[in-house]
Symmetry: C2
Subunit: 293 residues, 2 copies
């Protein structure tokens, strides 16, 4: 494990630790609550948490604050994964090498667990745990809401499903992937500018996150085609099987790789002015570009 | 139509008008967006909007503000109805005399439409439209989130489904109904104290809404057993058919009616100190107790 991978692991553990303490305070013990934890604490690198912590570095904001914002983001991400796997959506029985939430707990409980994780995100952002002005909290809620519903994750998933089996042009696929994956990653980085009260930097920071998101999605598509099933913890070559509209399907490997390198260069340029404060964010982009699982 | 029913209709129309203008600004025109509007603008009395406006009266807060908060609440309510009707949940093909959202748009679109309406609620509460301090907005978000997820609506629906075909005691059924229906109605009234910055009144106001919610649920159960299918716009006697755990099923008509009257008296007592400012809220409780559709 590289130093960078160790750093990711440390941040993921801190986020889990916060979420576990938040959950334990809720004093619930029914199957719905169990399903929420099953979906949320399913391992994974928690790359969104890391992006958030890395973006907060740019403005020298303390990690403790970043971790709580990251925890809210992971709840939203986890809601989207649980719902994406549902029989009426991608119909995936496995996620990270384990049964998906609806396979384990049933469909209705999985839907309700996703809904509950989505709402918990907004609860976390406005809770007393988060040591921020309520003005900042209100702005965080607005930005997170905008990228979780029909203009973001839910809208992207809708497009993804409606594109199945239909060829799409590059612009349309990028639009869909920005909504489905990019918007939330854009929030990870934009949140740093919101918390730092740097309103003028919000747009630029969001764009960096969107680009990292697109890079991430390209890498994910490449892994689906060329990845090792054992390292991935799930069957590969699923996109093609389901007729998913991906950039690779439309443009082939070479052009997709060129786009990935262009995005990487663009991200590096945008971050130049932050000097060494951008180290973790730069390493994230590099890691995403080269990851093999 | 009585003067009170006309007043309800006026408030419902104002809420719809606000929501329609909010929706038109989003400039979306795909099927997901259509499904959201289909679920949201499906008619209905919008009793939650009225409760909100009525509770804001207690503190002399302008109706314009109440309507925007009410709009957010209607989005949450609409999300819960769309998801409740799903095949894996209550499996209802009709809602208010029309096809339910999943029947009309398919299951995945209905799930995503529900998710999107839930997130829009938080967007509305923190948008610039709502002329309130961001501190107040943050407090509204926290309270609404707490009653929308596993501790509220989603948790109540989970219990409701898990109770099907199983007898429950009075306390357990009231607990389930408080979560499923009461908590959101409690937010309608609590929101007035939050906006008025009357922190000491929050608990009492929430309790009034919870009691109105329970009264509402009892009336709903009574209508299901004794209601006229044509006036209801949906088949009656569904609870019994599905083996739903209701107070009537456990205690019979007489004891349920006694409980309803007790709740009504309690609500009247709690509102006495507000004098004529409580008129609309008192009329709401009376209306709920006596409604026939």
């Amino acid at each position: 494990m590289s130093a960078f991978e160790k750093d990711i692991k440390i941040v993921a553990d801190k986020t889990d630790q916060y979420l576990k303490s938040y959950f334990s305070q809720q004093k619930q013990n029914n199957e719905l609550f169990e399903a929420m934890g099953y979906g949320l604490f399913a391992g994974g690198k928690k790359i969104r948490s890391y992006l958030t912590v890395a973006a907060f570095d740019l403005f020298g904001i303390k990690e403790e604050t970043a971790i709580i914002v990251a925890a809210a983001i992971e709840c939203v991400h986890s809601y989207s994964l649980i719902h994406d796997d549902l029989p009426s959506m991608d119909n995936d029985d496995f996620r990270r090498g384990k049964e998906s939430t609806h396979k384990k707990f049933g469909e209705s409980t999985a839907i309700l667990a996703g809904n509950s994780l989505l709402t918990i995100a907004f609860e976390i952002l406005t809770s007393n745990h988060l040591d921020l002005d309520k003005e900042v909290k209100s702005d965080l809620v607005f930005a997170l809401a905008s990228c979780s519903g029909h203009l973001g994750i839910a809208g992207g998933q809708f497009l993804d499903l409606s594109f199945e089996g239909k060829a799409q042009d590059e612009k349309t696929i990028i639009h869909m992937q920005n909504k489905k994956t990019g918007e939330l990653m854009g929030f990870c980085t934009e949140a740093a500018a919101i918390v730092a009260k740097k309103n003028n930097d919000r747009e630029e920071l969001k764009k960096i996150g969107l680009d990292i998101g697109l890079l991430f999605q390209i890498a994910d598509d490449l892994l689906d085609v060329y990845g090792d099933q054992n390292k991935l913890g799930k069957p590969s070559k699923q996109d093609d099987k389901k007729g998913k509209a991906t950039l690779i399907a439309t443009f082939g490997l070479d052009k997709t790789n060129v786009l990935a390198n262009e995005l990487h260069d663009k991200i590096k340029q945008s971050l130049e002015k932050y000097g060494t404060k951008a180290n973790r964010l730069l390493s994230s982009a590099e890691f995403i570009l080269k990851r093999d699982h």
